[in-house]
């Protein structure tokens, strides 16, 4: 929808002439509005932010003209020239730059043909990278203009101010880049991206190789190193030629072979795009370069925000729609980042960047520190990324396919960046973020009853779709495994549906009635939701057991899930002791947050339970209503048959017919009450149990820490006593013990802190998921209600009303 508006602005110039993509249809479809959303969303956000700033006036003035010039010069050719211009003139600065990004994206889309291509993943990704370029161009120019107008330092300051402020932070980078960094941005980032994306997309080995090699090695090397040289050399003269060289030669060079090899979508992209976007801006840049050089000093600092920012920014934009507390929290506590990590987290924790002011400040110093090395690092990342992509492209494809959300293009990029990194804790966190963005579609179909177990089929998208068969006990087994592994670190492990002896016996007895079919269906849906929750959980998804569960053909039977087995018995005892110790632990809570949250969770649990009972009673009453309506319908039909007045007889049988339909409607409605609401509530009652378990886990960790502290205290006292009693032989031993316990205390304290932070993070994640889930289900439920009301109206209208009138008059 939003895309439509943007394409209005710049109608595609080459509407139909070419073929565009080898992408499967769905990919395109999914991405179709995403692009628009992403960018427009960013647009609005920035607009509002800018509005609140006084300083924005200056750039408005200065920028309003130049960009239009810039773009009318360059972008006109591809397409939308007059409209683009109009846009620029109309909107304030920042927005304008974003506006221009739109157009650029569209242009790339156009270049890559047909209007839909705009929406294609490839062009999106390419576009998102390209954004950085035009942005830089405009900003560059404005920067220069600014400088010209208000003179060196004075101008530098306002610009910096404006752009350094957290909300507009996305812009701080491009602006900074602008001042000195053009060549590399242009050369390394976009080209690389453009190259890597198509590669991952097309996912055929040779092509990837061909792309990744020239891009990662030659282009990046050539481009990046000179540019890093640039940084060191304040001379404008040198920058100029370099810029020229970079803009002309390497890009083109890189482009040429690739085009030759790949030929397909990439070719389209590359043939036109670079010439329009890369080559065209060039003249203006060369003009600008000398001016930029006046700002050598800022250059060097700002320089440091190369790829990271260009990459980061589009993502930031794209994700702004989905602001969430989780990201914020995580970002605050993830300070270990070297450049790579920083970049990664930024990409993933996009909200953090926009919402947490400190993020910006941090990126700058870090970057400036690593200045020289940085470019190489970037190049490395990308080289690796590309390689990884070629290996991993199926996965990438999957992600893209599955990303039903506006961030479609983002996860794939994130994957490419984060992949090569070792799977550290940070990595996991990043994955967590991305995990929120895409969906793994798991569906359970075709439940069968064999003996006493369900065999269930699970198709799920991966590189390919695959299907495994699992018993119900396997699901329980998976849960136990996950619980053992993850619960103690404070993770909220989603619980599977409970065993139902009642329902199961019915199924086992083999009565093929409604209630057993309903039971099977209910369980199927519950298992599906359970798995969905597991794979949505980023750290659980990483678990080998989950993967095994999803992929392995034959599952070793989970024995421990049998209620009466030895293991089960042990577990019961463990749980009992846990419960006892839970009662005995008196924790003086240091963190109000946890205290409040726990109370909240408990209150919510109660309310949910109550609501669940209410909904169940509604389901019961609705079923009763359905039965009674059926009885009435039958009875009225009989009455109609006895009625000796023909008209009235017919009317009564119409009424019976309507009531029959009503019965069906009530029944369906009861089912959707049960499936949409009652099941949701039951799920969350169980989930809240897990949430509480994670709180308990935290308490237990705390207790352990306290115990250790007490023990240390005791040891110290012993030492003092020994010292006093003057027993040197035992003193050494006591001292050793003290050091041992000191280490333990530190360890446990660390554990406690870690668990606390995990719990907090998990709870926030849980709340986010919950809100999303509830909303989705509520809407689904309301839609079902709406539908049944439509039916009521329809049938009443058709059957009684119209025909009655017909019969009687």
């Amino acid at each position: 929808m939003k895309m439509a508006t943007s394409s209005e602005r710049s109608p595609p110039p080459f509407p139909d002439s070419e073929d565009q993509e080898l992408e499967p249809e769905e990919v395109r479809d999914q991405d179709s509005d995403d692009g628009g959303d992403i960018f427009l969303g960013a647009d609005n956000l920035l607009e509002t932010k800018m509005a609140s700033k006084p300083a924005s006036d200056i750039p408005t003035k200065t920028q309003s003209d130049p960009p239009s010039d810039l773009f009318s010069e360059h972008l006109m050719e591809p397409a939308s020239a007059p409209k683009v211009q109009w846009d620029f003139i109309e909107k304030p600065v920042i927005e304008m730059t974003i506006g221009s990004t739109h157009n650029v994206i569209e242009v790339t889309g156009d270049i890559a043909k047909a209007p839909e291509v705009v929406t294609e993943a490839a062009s999106d990704i390419a576009g998102s990278n390209i954004i950085s370029k035009p942005l830089i161009d405009t900003d560059n120019k404005t920067g220069n203009e600014l400088k010209e107008e208000s003179h060196s330092k004075a101008s530098g300051a306002p610009v910096m101010d404006i752009f350094n402020e957290p909300p507009s932070e996305a812009f701080s980078s491009p602006v900074m880049d602008v001042f000195g960094e053009l060549p590399r941005n242009l050369s390394s980032a976009p080209v690389m991206d453009i190259l890597t994306e198509p590669a991952s997309k097309t996912s055929t080995a040779p092509m990837e190789d061909s792309i990744s090699k020239p891009s990662s090695t030659s282009v990046v090397d050539i481009l990046c190193e000179p540019s890093s040289d640039n940084v060191k050399e304040p001379e404008p003269d040198i920058i100029d030629p370099l810029a020229d060289m970079i803009n002309n030669a390497p890009v083109r060079d890189a482009r040429a072979p690739i085009a030759a090899v790949t030929k397909e979508p990439t070719r389209d992209l590359f043939d036109d795009e670079p010439s329009d976007l890369f080559a065209e801006p060039r003249p203006s840049k060369t003009i600008k370069q000398p001016q930029t050089s006046i700002f050598d000093e800022p250059d060097e600092d700002l320089f440091s925000e190369p790829l990271g920012d260009t990459l980061k920014k589009p993502h930031n934009d794209s994700f702004k729609g989905e602001l969430a507390p989780v990201a914020k929290a995580r970002h605050v506590r993830g300070p270990l980042n070297d450049n790579q990590n920083e970049e990664g987290t930024d990409i993933f924790g996009e909200e953090a960047v926009t919402t947490v002011p400190s993020a910006v400040k941090r990126t700058i110093p870090i970057n400036s520190k690593t200045n020289g090395v940085h470019s190489d690092e970037e190049a490395d990342i990308f080289a690796e990324a590309t390689v990884e992509l070629s290996l991993d492209s199926p996965r990438n494809d999957r992600k893209r396919k599955e990303a039903a959300k506006p961030t479609a293009s983002a996860p794939s990029v994130t994957a490419s960046v984060s992949k090569p990194q070792p799977p550290t804790l940070e990595e996991l966190e990043e994955e967590e973020e991305s995990g929120d963005k895409f969906e793994l579609n798991i569906s359970i179909t075709n439940p069968e009853k064999v003996g006493e177990f369900h065999h269930t089929t699970l198709p799920m998208f991966r590189s390919k779709m695959f299907t495994v068969r699992r018993r119900f006990s396997d699901f329980l087994g998976l849960y136990e495994k996950l619980l053992d592994k993850h619960a103690q670190s404070g993770y909220i492990v989603p619980p599977p549906p409970e065993k139902s002896i009642m329902g199961m016996t019915k199924v086992k007895v083999g009565k093929e009635d409604n209630s057993s079919a309903e039971f099977v269906e209910k369980r199927r849906a519950a298992l599906e939701r359970y798995l969905q929750r597991v794979v949505c959980h980023p750290s659980l998804l990483q678990d080998p057991d989950v993967r095994e569960f999803l992929e392995r053909d034959d599952m070793p039977r989970a024995h421990s899930t049998q209620a009466l087995s030895g293991a089960g018995f042990l577990k019961m005892i463990n749980r009992a002791t846990d419960a006892v110790s839970k009662m005995t632990i008196k924790m003086n809570e240091s963190d109000v947050w946890f205290e409040d949250k726990l109370l909240e969770v408990e209150a919510e649990d109660q309310q949910l339970r109550k609501l669940h009972i209410m909904v169940e009673s509604l389901v019961g009453h609705r079923k009763e209503l359905s039965v009674n309506t059926a009885g009435f319908a039958k009875s009225v039909a009989m009455l109609g048959s006895s009625e000796d007045n023909t008209a009235l007889s017919r009317a009564l049988s119409q009424l019976a017919e309507v009531e029959d339909k009503m019965e069906q409607l009530h029944q369906d409605q009861a089912a959707s009450d049960s499936f949409c609401l009652a099941e949701l509530l039951a799920d969350y009652i169980r989930l809240l149990g897990s949430v509480r378990a994670s709180f308990d886990q935290r308490m237990k960790t705390w207790q352990r820490w306290q115990d250790a502290q007490n023990m240390l205290q005791k040891k110290r006292e012993t030492e003092a006593k020994l010292l006093w009693a003057n027993k040197p032989d035992k003193l050494q031993q006591a001292k050793d013990e003290i050091t041992e316990w000191e280490a333990k205390v530190t360890q446990y304290e660390k554990d406690f802190d870690r668990v606390s932070s995990t719990v907090r993070k998990e709870v926030l994640r849980f709340e986010k998921e919950k809100a999303r889930d509830f909303k989705k289900q509520i809407i689904k439920y309301l839609e079902s209600l709406l539908q049944s009301q439509q039916q009521v109206e329809f049938w009443t209208l058709v059957c009684i009303h119209n025909r009655l009138f017909h019969t009687f008059f």
Binding site: N628, M638, L639, L782, E783, L786, L797, L804
Partner: protein
């Protein structure tokens, strides 16, 4: 509790059961009623141009028992044997809402204040509805009498309307209660006996089979309709609880969900009102209609019984006459009796045919009116529901 029925409500009431061809000469309504414990005092208001009344416009206080008395005297009047005597209004039944109120009081602790007050409101509304319905059936009874060409001229009826003191009809004592019970037993036994008598008239033969069949069917339908409306009411009541719980859930919540839950709770509150209306309209238009005609058909069956009784009497008198002729004894007396019986039977048959035909017309008209009204209301409610739902879906989707 006093309640004044407004006009629209009365309009509805009239539509419930009968389509009356009211002429302006005798207009009766019950504008007011007072409920004290078990007793309900109705104010019966009459407007008339008939000369047999002393005033043109007058009101008298009457109790339910007075109505019953009037009905019984009409039934016992020999002259009206060929008429369908309008069914007596059922005894006011406030037990079920009272019981529910009691239950609600017991369950108060488990509910939130808001929930409780809503439930109470709902029960009060139900109570009021029962009260109004009671008034309506009493009014309809009088109106049917007033619109009947013969019954409206009944002296007892006129006294009932006009006498401005308490009628203070004697309550039936235990013996009489037993007597009437015994009479009913005899009547049903008699019905079985005389059912063997060969019917001479096809019309009545048909009518008899029809009414017998129809009355059992309509009894069943009424019971089923009552059940259906009751469970509909239960669904509406569930909405109250759900809405209340949702809103208390939303109070505790402070995530993004809060707003959604609030809207959802709000929606449920609105939906329950609509759902409650659906249930009460169903009750009024459908169940009440069936209930009334169940009683009316019983009245028609009573007429058939009286006619069949007369036929049996006539047959017996024929036999008696034959016997008398055989014995040549009391021939004149027997002949006279036989003539009387024949006359009575013919009279009953004639007026019975008229009455039954008009009953059929009345029934069809009333059913048509009510069914159409119900369909219209149902469509209206469905539209309301849809608008509410659509609005809420849009709201939820937009943020």
């Amino acid at each position: 509790m006093t309640s004044t029925l407004d006009d629209s409500e009365k309009e509805k009431a009239r539509s419930v059961s009968v389509d009356l061809n009211n002429d302006a000469s005798l207009l009766i309504d019950i504008p007011d009623a007072l409920c004290e414990r078990d007793k309900v005092k109705f104010t019966v208001h009459t407007k008339t141009t008939l000369s047999c009344f002393q005033k043109l416009d007058f009101s008298v206080p009457r109790q339910h028992e007075d109505f019953i008395w009037l009905h019984d005297t009409l039934v016992e009047t020999e002259d009206y044997a060929g008429l369908i005597i309008p069914p007596a209004p059922p005894k006011p039944d406030f037990e079920s809402p009272r019981e529910k109120m009691h239950k609600l009081g017991e369950g108060e602790a488990t509910m939130t204040k808001e929930e409780y007050s809503k439930m109470k409101q709902e029960l009060e509304a139900e109570y009021l509805a029962v009260f109004k319905k009671t008034v309506q059936v009493h009014e309809v009874f009088l109106q049917r009498l007033s619109s009947h060409p013969i019954l409206s001229k009944d002296r007892n009826f006129q006294i009932f309307l006009e006498y401005d003191q308490d009628l203070s009809v004697r309550r039936k004592n235990a013996k009489e209660t037993f007597g009437s019970f015994f009479k009913n037993m005899v009547k049903s036994a008699d019905e079985v006996i005389i059912s063997g008598i060969k019917e001479v008239d096809d019309f009545f033969e048909q009518e008899k089979t029809f009414l017998l069949d129809y009355s059992s069917k309509i009894k069943d339908s009424t019971a089923k309709a009552e059940k259906m409306t009751r469970s509909h009411k239960n669904v509406a009541d569930d909405y109250i609880h759900i809405s209340a719980t949702l809103s208390s859930l939303s109070v505790d919540d402070n995530t993004a969900l809060k707003k959604h839950l609030e809207k959802f709770a709000d929606l449920f509150e609105k939906l329950r009102k609509v759902e409650g209306r659906v249930a009460s309209d169903e009750e009024l238009k459908l169940t009440e209609l069936l209930r009334y005609y169940m009683r009316d058909i019983q009245a028609a069956k009573d007429l058939l019984y009286r006619r069949a009784r007369a036929l049996a009497d006539y047959e017996n008198s024929n036999k008696a006459l034959d016997k008398a002729r055989l014995k040549s004894k009391d021939m004149a007396q027997a002949e006279e009796h036989q003539q009387q019986c024949l006359q009575k039977f013919d009279k009953l048959s004639e007026s019975g045919k008229r009455e039954l035909t008009s009953f059929k017309g009345r029934r069809v008209v009333a059913f048509r009116k009510n069914l159409i009204e119900m369909a219209e209301l149902e469509i209206k409610h469905a539209k309301n529901n849809m608008a509410l739902l659509q609005g809420c879906i849009e709201l939820l989707k937009s943020n």
